[in-house]
Point group: C2
Chain length 492, copies 2
């Protein structure tokens, strides 16, 4: 146990051999930020190859602890072992991918203008890390967007130390992952302070206070966050109010509209396929995905009615699903009851009292386009969705009336001219509103690849020109520097 | 004259034939922003080739009016005809370059991950304009950073309508340029509202109020600004306080430190060459450049003393130079007097009363490193600089103590091992502090090329990962959208 480190008994984590002497493990804001500031220069000067090796070592250490982590995560999140196991794989793959990306130099802007400066000197760019990054772990992806998630991976890949705040709903998992990462990072020879971890509680027990203090700490140069609009906005406001404002890369709310065109559901097989696919996307992981289809527009035709019926039945037929926290389960219950009350005659009532206070009963509410107002347009976290029956000719106008989105989806018959023509008319509105447009799929399942854009106009994110998933995420934590006539052998 | 357009008699501009019926010319905030919002969709859908043609047409129209514009600019700015003529050339070249850049597709992120999505669909990116951009014309480059400057050119190249606020010190020039651009843009067939212009005065005569209203108008999606730290910060705060926060790309203050290494001035020819070069960079354009060397570190040796003597004499020997406004001249006088009073025995007093209230007398103050504190570290706009005599071994520490800078410069003997070794030690500190590092040159003269980075850490700019000069400036006004499996023939 490092000197000065005092485990919090309130977290239920026993002190003792579980806490090795971790070089970069800190429990107070001042210690973590001070160490991060000291690490910024030396770690920022590391070669991309060394950073790749560090990220691979982090991935290896998580793999080695996989079984225990999945168990611990299951206990704190109520997500299934299969889902959590897959998420570990995604997370370790992400760490390795971002390391490989920088080692291959693919993060570099690498612009060169030969002889362009006054006097004929060359001008070219290098890219330098911004400095210490504050990362806020999200609860719904305890690995992929948690302590070892995309923000941590991309900041470390960029050469920035990170100070990660654990999520209050997962105190033991957050701390255990932090131990593993800190140990791997120390073993890789990184300077103390390259990785710092803060428990979700501040000294006086107010987690929001700690978050604001972290964002406003002078050594912090950028922020990564995934969570609610309210939380993201609070961090943005705190960052903007600093003597030195800093960027906040916040991924917040989205209803991820899906537009079903008539051709795709003209026949029963199409209706069945899409009803199953949509129901699974709404209820999977308890509907607690930022890309869950929260609004599905279906044609106001007999076929659209049949699709709505089937989708609603499949969703309602899914048994209660465990949710991340009792608070989220209660919020879902309130949403379902309010939604059920707002329609004259819901086909399926929101159901009996859930089996336990942390379960949510999947629920679809069905309305017509004229009733698509107010709360229905706001993100709802949980296994629920809004099925809107509308004239497909109105889809572009309905899309234009939406706020910014992470995703927007078209479901169509590839071979039907009418669907293709309707899609052509609808696409500009979707491109204008969303960071990703999906064709004949569902928006859940975000591929961690170079071309991924997980962003979108406000309020989906704070910075729609950036992505929080995919290798371009690294670029958020870099800035270019132009060198003018500098002898190349003197740099780097 | 367009309906509803009322020239402001207070600006001294006669109504009449000087105001043709300009489709996109607006005088009130509501009209300009409303038209820009309406133009965003159709103009954003223009092909890159059409945008190139529009930008070339703007350049051609400015060229055709060159002589009159230079004369008008001279009357309002007091800059020399030679300087202004060169600036027109730079500005028209910039408009054409940005047009060519987008027509060649060099602004596109163009990422593609084949078969990467669940189900094997391709994921690839397109880039879409953010929407209407508010541009604030700067006073010190009435063309290159003025109404037709880099922010306007890059936003139009990106496919964003612009609403430009003229600079209050150049009411006639701003309006004349706006007329020319509006006419050229209308002739190019662009939708009304693609270009809007606001006089610097708001209805009730408070230009700051108009600026804030413009930044906070809901249709505005991004802001381009070049000017003071105070002005930029006010716009940033206004943008951050919006219900939908938007990015402000503000280029603000910088002292542009120059570090002279001993080898470069070991001999008299070197000293003379660099004294002349530095004096010209300090006094050129009245020292009213954001890249003016505001602090020159010279060795605390006999040779450094000789360089300081010569540079100081050359600067002081330059006669009073006309400044942009009486306010700037007064501020320069106050700075010079304060600086002179702070040193025990200035070699050259700041001089007699200036010839007129809009002139500034070039002045160099010389201090030792221990006195390099407070005001000396802050940007001073005008023909003055601070020569700091320091031990070259202290240069890295002095650099680390500086705030963020647009530029930092090393002057060295390329062939001297001692200089190269000192530069190698100094460079990391300069890279950490500046957006551009110059070797054996002066930072004035910013090449408008692809590799240029005109940015830098706070307070030099609000967004050091962006540039306001060079073709990458276009990217500030775009965001990527990922398309997942979308049939390519249905897009764009």
């Amino acid at each position: 146990m490092p000197a000065g480190f005092t485990p919090r008994p309130s977290l239920g984590v026993p002190p003792g051999p579980g806490y090795p002497g971790l070089v970069a493990y800190h429990t107070t804001l001042d210690r973590a930020t001070g160490a991060a500031a000291a690490a910024a220069g030396p770690y920022g000067a590391w070669s991309a190859e060394r950073r790749r090796d560090l990220l691979h070592a982090c991935a290896d250490a998580l793999e080695a602890a996989r079984a225990g982590l999945v168990e611990l995560a299951g206990a704190e999140t109520h997500l299934t072992p299969e889902r959590l196991d897959g998420e570990v794989t995604r997370t370790t793959g992400q760490l390795r991918l971002y390391g490989d990306h920088v080692a291959a130099g693919r993060h570099l802007s690498a612009r060169r203008s030969a002889g362009a400066a006054p006097g004929g000197a060359d001008v070219w760019t290098i890219d330098v890390p911004l400095g210490p990054v504050a990362v806020f772990a999200a609860s719904n992806f305890p690995f992929a967007f948690g302590v070892p998630g995309g923000d941590t991976a991309s900041a470390l890949a960029a050469g920035c130390p990170v100070v990660v705040k654990g999520h209050p709903a997962q105190p033991r998992l957050s701390r255990r992952i932090a131990e593993i990462l800190a140990s791997a990072i120390a073993d890789a020879g990184a300077p103390e302070g390259t990785f710092g971890f803060l428990d979700a509680e501040s000294a006086d027990g107010d987690p929001n206070k700690l978050s604001i203090e972290l964002v406003q700490h002078p050594v912090i140069k950028a922020v990564g966050f995934t969570g609610s609009l309210g939380g993201g906005r609070a961090l943005m406001d705190a960052a903007a109010a600093r003597p030195e404002p800093i960027p906040v890369y916040a991924e917040m709310g989205s209803v991820n509209p899906v537009f079903v065109l008539p051709g795709a559901i003209a026949g029963e097989p199409g209706r069945e396929q899409w009803a199953k696919t949509l129901a699974a996307a709404v209820t999977g992981s308890g509907g607690q995905l930022c890309t869950k289809p929260g609004v599905v527009f279906v044609p106001d035709t007999a076929e659209g009615g049949a699709l709505g019926d089937l989708t609603e039945q499949l969703i309602a037929g899914t048994g209660p699903v465990p949710m991340l926290t009792a608070g989220m389960a209660a919020a879902h219950r309130r949403w379902s009851e309010k939604a059920a009350a707002s329609v004259t005659s819901p086909a399926t009532p929101p159901g009996e009292q859930e089996a336990d206070s942390r379960s949510g009963r999947p629920f679809a509410v069905r309305i017509s386009a004229k009733d698509f107002t107010g709360d229905y347009r706001e993100e709802h976290f949980g296994p629920g969705t809004v099925i809107v029956h509308a004239d497909p000719a109105e889809y572009p106008a309905l899309a234009q009336a939406l706020e910014g989105q992470l995703t927007a989806t078209i479901i169509a018959d590839d071979a039907a001219d009418t669907d293709r023509s309707a899609a052509r008319e609808l696409l500009p509105s979707l491109v204008a509103k969303a960071g990703r447009v999906v064709w004949n799929g569902v928006p859940t399942g975000v591929a961690v690849v170079e071309a991924m854009q997980h962003g979108g106009p406000w309020p989906a994110t704070s910075a729609p020109w950036s992505t929080s998933v995919g290798t371009e995420a690294v670029r958020r934590f870099l800035r270019p520097v132009a060198l003018q006539g500098v002898p190349a052998d003197l740099v780097g």
